[in-house]
C-alpha cells in the first residue's frame, strides 16, 4: 500500500514499494497520459512534476515518496489544456504521433517556471526528452511562444 498525492488528490494505492512511480500512475491511479518509453530515465516520456520539479517517473520507486510529496501528471497540469505551454503547443501544431508530448509539455512547463524567458541554450539544456517523430523545431518555437518571446502565427482560415 502506498499513499500518494497525485494531482491534488490523495490516493491509496495497492502497490508494492519497489514499483516505479510511472507504473503506479498508469496502472493503479489509471492515469495513462504519462508514457512508458525506456524505463531507464533516458527518454523523458514518463516526465511528471514532483514538488514542482520535473522528474522521470520510471526511475523513482513508490517507496521513496512521502504522502506529502506533490505529484502532478499531464492530466493535472491545467483544466482543458489551458496552460500557456499547452496553448502554444496547439497554436504551432507541435505533436506528430503525440506519444512523447505529455513528457515534453511537462518538461517545458518546468523550464518556464524556472526560466520564464529561456534562451535557445536554456532550452537545449533543459529539454532532453526524446521525440522520434522529430518535433523539436516546433517544440523550440512553442516554448518561445509560451514565454511571449515570439508572436502566435495567424490561424489559417478556410
Amino acid at each position: 500500500m502506498a499513499k500518494l498525492n497525485v494531482n491534488g488528490k490523495t490516493l491509496d494505492l495497492k502497490v508494492d514499494g519497489d514499483t516505479p512511480l510511472l507504473w503506479a500512475i498508469r496502472e493503479q491511479a489509471g492515469l495513462t497520459g504519462t508514457k512508458y518509453g525506456c524505463g531507464v530515465a533516458q527518454c523523458g516520456a514518463c516526465s511528471v512534476h514532483l514538488n514542482g520539479e520535473v522528474v522521470r517517473s520510471c526511475s523513482i520507486t513508490v517507496a521513496s515518496l512521502k504522502p506529502t510529496d506533490k505529484i502532478v501528471t499531464i492530466e493535472g497540469l491545467a483544466p482543458n489544456a489551458s496552460s500557456a505551454v499547452q496553448k502554444a503547443w496547439a497554436a504551432l501544431d507541435v505533436p506528430q504521433c503525440g506519444y512523447c508530448q505529455s513528457g515534453q509539455i511537462m518538461a517545458a512547463t518546468a523550464l518556464l517556471k524556472k526560466t520564464p524567458k529561456p534562451t535557445d541554450a536554456d532550452i537545449d539544456a533543459a529539454m532532453t526528452n526524446i521525440c522520434r517523430c522529430g518535433t523539436y523545431q516546433r517544440i523550440r518555437a512553442a516554448i518561445h511562444l509560451a514565454a511571449g518571446q515570439i508572436a502566435a502565427p495567424a490561424a489559417k482560415k478556410v
Binding site: 516505479p20 504519462t34 518509453g37 496547439a90 504521433c97
Partner: protein, 731 residues
C-alpha cells in the same frame, strides 16, 4: 479456393491472401487488388452518402479514414481532400476510423488500409476525392428534388446549397437524410476539381487530431483498459532463430500479481499478471534455458565478411546497366574507387510494441497500433485459428510506426497466442524497451563497392556500384523475388520509369545487387533502401567531383540534363541555401539529391567539425517536389521529422550483433537525437503538378549524404561508413 492470389495489402508487407491461406481461411478479395465502391452493401449505415461521408442533421460531417495515423498527418490530409470535393464547412468536419472487419464485410469498400511507402495520400487521393464528390452530388440532388428544380441550377459553398433563381438556400444537414436514400452515383463518373481551384486542400490547416495529445487524454493501444484485463510481459530467445527449451515457473508463481506463465511459441514465453509491472518483474526473475542454435556464433564481423564476399562475387540479384562499364573504366583518364558500408538500425518507435487481445471460442479481437489493419486482422485470424469474419481489429493511432508496424504483425500474433490460452480474458501485452530493441525488423545492412571513370575533361564516363547486403523481400516477402532478382534493394538506383529512379545519365553504368542474408530479421525503416543507396551514390559522386576538380553542384547538374525534376529540386535547394555564397569561418556545405516514393528531394547541409572531431549541423535546407501538396504545414513537419530520424541514424545509429543477438538494448546505448542537436530546418516546396508523390519518407535519404558531404568538405576526407560516432573525423 476463394482466396485471391497475391492480393497486395502492402508493398512492404505480407500478403493478406497468403496469410489467410496458410491459416486455412477463405476471403473473397479481388485478385487485382482493386475494390468495389460498395453501393450500400452489407453493414452500410442508413445515413451514409457513398462510403466516405456521413452528414448529420446537426451539420456535422463525418469523414471516414481507412489509413493509419502515426503522426504523419495523413488523417488531416485525407479529410481535406474529401472536404474539398464535398464543399462542406471545414469547421464541421470530424473523422471516423474504418475497422478492418468492416472493410472486409463490405468487400474492401474503402480500399487498401496499409499505411507505408508514403502512400497514405498519393494512392488514395483519387478515390477519396471521388467519395467527397459523390456525397456532394447526392446532397445537391436531394435539395433539387425537394425544390423540384434541376440539380445543375444549384451551387454550394461551405455546406449551404443555393438555388440562385429562386433565391432559396438550405444546409447539408437538412437534406442529408433524404440524400442518403438516393442511389449512389458511380464514383468514376465524378469530375474532380483542378488542384489550382482548391480551397481546403492545399492549405496549411491545423491538424484535426492535436487536442487530445496535449492533456494525456489520447488513448493509444498501450493505454487501453478493458474490464477484467490482465497484463503480459514477454521474452523471446535473444538469438534470432533460437528456441526456448525450458523455464522454471515454480520460481515466480508466488510473486505478487502473477496469474499465468504461458509458452507463446517455440521461442517465446510470457508472464501474465494483474499489472504489467508485476508481469515484467516476474519475467525478469524467471529462469530460462535457450537453445540458441547455430546463429549464436554470428557477429557484426562475420556478417560484414559475408557482405564483403558479395562485393566481388560473380552474378547478381538485380541490376541497372547501360553501356560497357568495364571497358570504359579501363579507358578512363582517371578512376576513383571506394567501399562504403551502413549498419543495421532499429526503429525505436516511442511507443514500444504492444497489443491488447481477447479471444473466445468464436471471436478474436485486438486493439493495436498498426500501420496495416488488414495484416493485423490476418495475424489475429491465423493465430486464433478463427476465420477472418470472426476477428476484428480496433486500430489505435500509433506512437510512431516508421515501417515497424506494417505487414509483419508479430506482436499481434503473440498477443493472440497468449490470449487464446486464457479465453475470454483481455490481455494487454507490452514489450519492454529492451525486447523492442532486440526483436525488431532492422534496416538492412549493406556494403557498396564503387568505381568511377573520368575522361580527360573530368566528365563522368563510367560508374559502377556493387551493393552487397540483406534483402527485405527475402525475409518478409520471398514470393515477390522472381528468378533471384530483387530490385527493391536498388531503390532509387533503378532505371526510369519507377517510383525511385536514378537522376543521373552516365554513358557506361553498372549497378548490381548481391543478396547476402544473415539471420537478423530485416524490414522497412522510414525511407527503406533509399537511405543506404543515397549515401552510397551521393557521397561517392562528391568524391568523384572532387577528383575531377569540379564543384559538386555543377558536377551533378552536368549529369542531370535528362532528369529535369531531379534537377529542379537540386536547383531549388541550391538557390534557397545560397550555394557558393560565403559562410562563417569553419562552416562548410554539402549537397545531395535523390528520388524516392514518387517524389524528388534535395538537401544542403551547413556543418562544422571541431578540432576534436565533433560535428555540428548549423542548418539544413530542403527542396521537395511531391507533385501536389495537400497540407504544406504538415509536409514541412514531415521534412523536419525526417531530419531528426535521419540525423539520429547518421550520427549514432547502429544495431550491432554479438553472439547472435543485438547488443544495443535501450536508449543509453542506442543514442537518439535530442533537441540540442536539431538544426534549424528550412523547406522549399516546389510541387510541379501532374503527379502525386509521397511525403513521409522521400526527404530522409538526403539528410545523411548532405551532412557527410559537408563533413568531407570540412575535413578533406570522405566519410564512407556510418554512424559518424565511430569515425575519427580529425587526426
Amino acid at each position: 479456393m476463394a482466396i485471391a492470389k497475391n492480393v497486395k495489402i502492402s508493398r512492404r508487407g505480407l500478403l493478406l491472401g497468403s496469410v489467410a491461406a496458410s491459416g486455412g481461411l477463405a476471403v473473397g478479395l479481388r485478385a487485382d487488388g482493386q475494390f468495389a465502391h460498395a453501393q450500400k452493401a452489407i453493414g452500410a449505415s442508413g445515413d451514409e452518402l457513398g462510403v466516405w461521408v456521413v452528414v448529420r442533421p446537426n451539420e456535422q460531417v463525418v469523414i471516414r479514414i481507412a489509413r493509419s495515423e502515426m503522426g504523419q498527418g495523413t488523417l488531416t490530409g485525407l479529410a481535406q481532400l474529401v472536404a474539398e470535393e464535398l464543399e462542406c464547412d471545414w469547421k464541421n468536419v470530424t473523422t471516423e476510423q474504418i475497422t478492418p472487419g468492416q472493410s472486409l464485410a463490405r468487400k474492401r469498400a474503402w480500399g487498401e488500409m496499409g499505411t507505408g511507402g508514403s502512400r497514405g495520400i498519393r494512392v488514395s487521393q483519387e478515390y477519396v476525392r471521388q467519395g467527397g464528390a459523390v456525397a456532394r452530388t447526392m446532397l445537391l440532388q436531394a435539395a433539387a428534388n425537394q425544390w423540384n428544380v434541376p440539380a445543375d441550377e444549384l451551387t454550394v459553398d461551405k455546406g449551404i446549397i443555393t438555388h440562385g433563381k429562386s433565391k432559396r438556400t438550405i444546409t447539408y444537414g437538412k437534406v442529408a437524410a433524404a440524400a442518403a436514400k438516393l442511389p449512389v452515383p458511380d464514383p468514376k463518373s465524378m469530375k474532380l476539381k483542378d488542384p489550382k481551384d482548391w480551397k481546403i486542400a492545399g492549405k496549411p490547416l491545423r491538424r484535426l487530431d492535436t487536442g487530445d495529445k496535449l492533456d494525456g487524454r489520447k488513448v493509444y493501444a498501450i493505454d487501453v483498459k478493458l474490464p477484467g484485463m490482465l497484463n503480459a510481459a514477454i521474452k523471446a530467445c535473444p538469438v534470432f532463430g533460437g528456441k526456448l527449451t525450458a523455464y522454471d515457473d515454480a520460481k515466480i508463481k508466488d510473486m505478487p500479481g502473477v496469474r499465468h506463465v504461458v509458452r507463446v511459441d517455440a521461442t517465446t514465453v510470457a508472464v501474465v499478471a494483474d499489472t504489467w509491472w508485476q508481469a515484467k518483474r516476474a519475467l525478469d526473475a524467471l529462469p530460462f534455458t535457450w537453445d540458441e542454435g547455430a546463429a549464436a556464433k554470428a557477429s557484426s564481423a562475420t556478417i560484414a565478411e559475408t557482405l564483403k564476399e558479395g562485393l566481388t562475387a560473380e552474378g547478381d540479384n538485380g541490376a541497372n546497366r547501360n553501356g560497357d562499364v568495364a571497358a570504359a573504366l579501363k579507358d578512363a583518364a582517371k578512376t576513383i574507387e571506394a567501399v562504403y558500408a551502413t549498419p543495421f538500425l532499429a526503429h525505436a518507435c516511442m511507443e514500444p510494441m504492444n497489443c491488447v487481445a481477447k479471444v473466445t471460442a468464436d471471436r478474436a479481437e485486438v486493439w493495436v497500433p498498426t500501420q496495416n489493419g488488414e495484416a493485423s486482422l490476418a495475424a489475429a485470424a491465423e493465430a486464433s485459428g478463427l476465420p477472418l469474419e470472426k476477428c476484428e481489429v480496433y486500430k489505435h493511432d500509433l506512437g510512431g510506426g516508421f515501417g515497424r508496424r506494417g505487414g509483419t504483425q508479430d506482436y499481434v500474433r503473440q498477443a493472440v497466442l497468449i490470449a487464446k490460452q486464457i479465453p475470454g480474458v483481455p490481455i494487454k501485452m507490452i514489450w519492454s524497451r529492451e525486447e523492442d530493441m532486440t526483436h525488431d525488423f532492422y534496416r538492412p545492412i549493406s556494403q557498396c563497392r564503387m568505381a568511377a571513370g573520368l575522361d580527360d575533361k573530368g566528365s563522368l564516363v563510367a560508374l559502377e556500384m556493387r551493393i552487397s547486403g540483406q534483402s527485405i523481400n527475402a525475409y518478409a516477402n520471398p514470393s515477390v523475388i522472381k528468378d533471384g532478382k530483387d530490385l527493391r534493394q536498388l531503390q532509387g538506383l533503378t532505371a526510369e520509369p519507377s517510383d525511385a529512379y536514378i537522376g543521373y545519365t552516365v554513358p557506361n553504368l553498372s549497378i548490381t545487387y548481391a543478396m547476402r542474408n544473415s539471420h537478423v530479421p530485416v524490414g522497412p525503416w522510414r525511407g527503406v533502401n533509399t537511405n543506404q543507396n543515397a549515401v552510397y551514390l551521393e557521397c561517392f559522386i562528391d568524391e568523384v567531383a572532387k577528383a575531377a576538380g569540379k564543384d559538386p553542384l555543377e558536377f551533378r547538374r552536368a549529369l542531370m540534363g535528362k532528369h529535369p525534376k531531379h534537377l529542379g529540386v537540386l536547383n531549388a535547394v541550391a538557390e534557397k541555401a545560397g550555394w557558393g555564397k560565403p559562410l562563417p569561418s569553419g562552416v562548410h556545405r554539402g549537397i545531395a539529391q535523390f528520388k524516392g516514393y514518387g517524389s524528388y528531394s534535395a538537401a544542403v547541409a551547413e556543418v562544422s567539425v571541431s578540432d576534436r572531431g565533433k560535428v555540428k549541423v548549423h542548418r539544413l535546407v530542403f527542396a521537395l517536389d511531391s507533385g501536389h501538396v495537400v497540407n504544406p504545414a504538415q509536409v514541412e513537419a514531415q521534412v523536419e521529422g525526417s531530419v531528426a530520424y535521419g540525423l539520429s541514424a547518421a550520427l549514432y545509429g547502429e544495431s550491432t550483433v554479438k553472439d547472435g543477438r543485438i547488443v544495443e538494448q535501450n536508449f543509453d546505448t542506442y543514442e537518439l537525437l535530442r533537441i540540442a542537436e536539431m538544426p534549424p530546418v528550412e523547406t522549399v516546396l516546389v510541387p510541379s503538378g501532374g503527379f502525386w508523390g509521397g511525403v513521409g519518407e522521400p526527404t530522409i535519404c538526403v539528410v545523411a549524404p548532405a551532412v557527410m558531404n559537408a563533413i568531407a568538405a570540412a575535413t578533406g576526407k570522405p566519410i564512407r561508413s556510418l554512424p559518424l560516432k565511430n569515425m575519427k573525423l580529425r587526426a
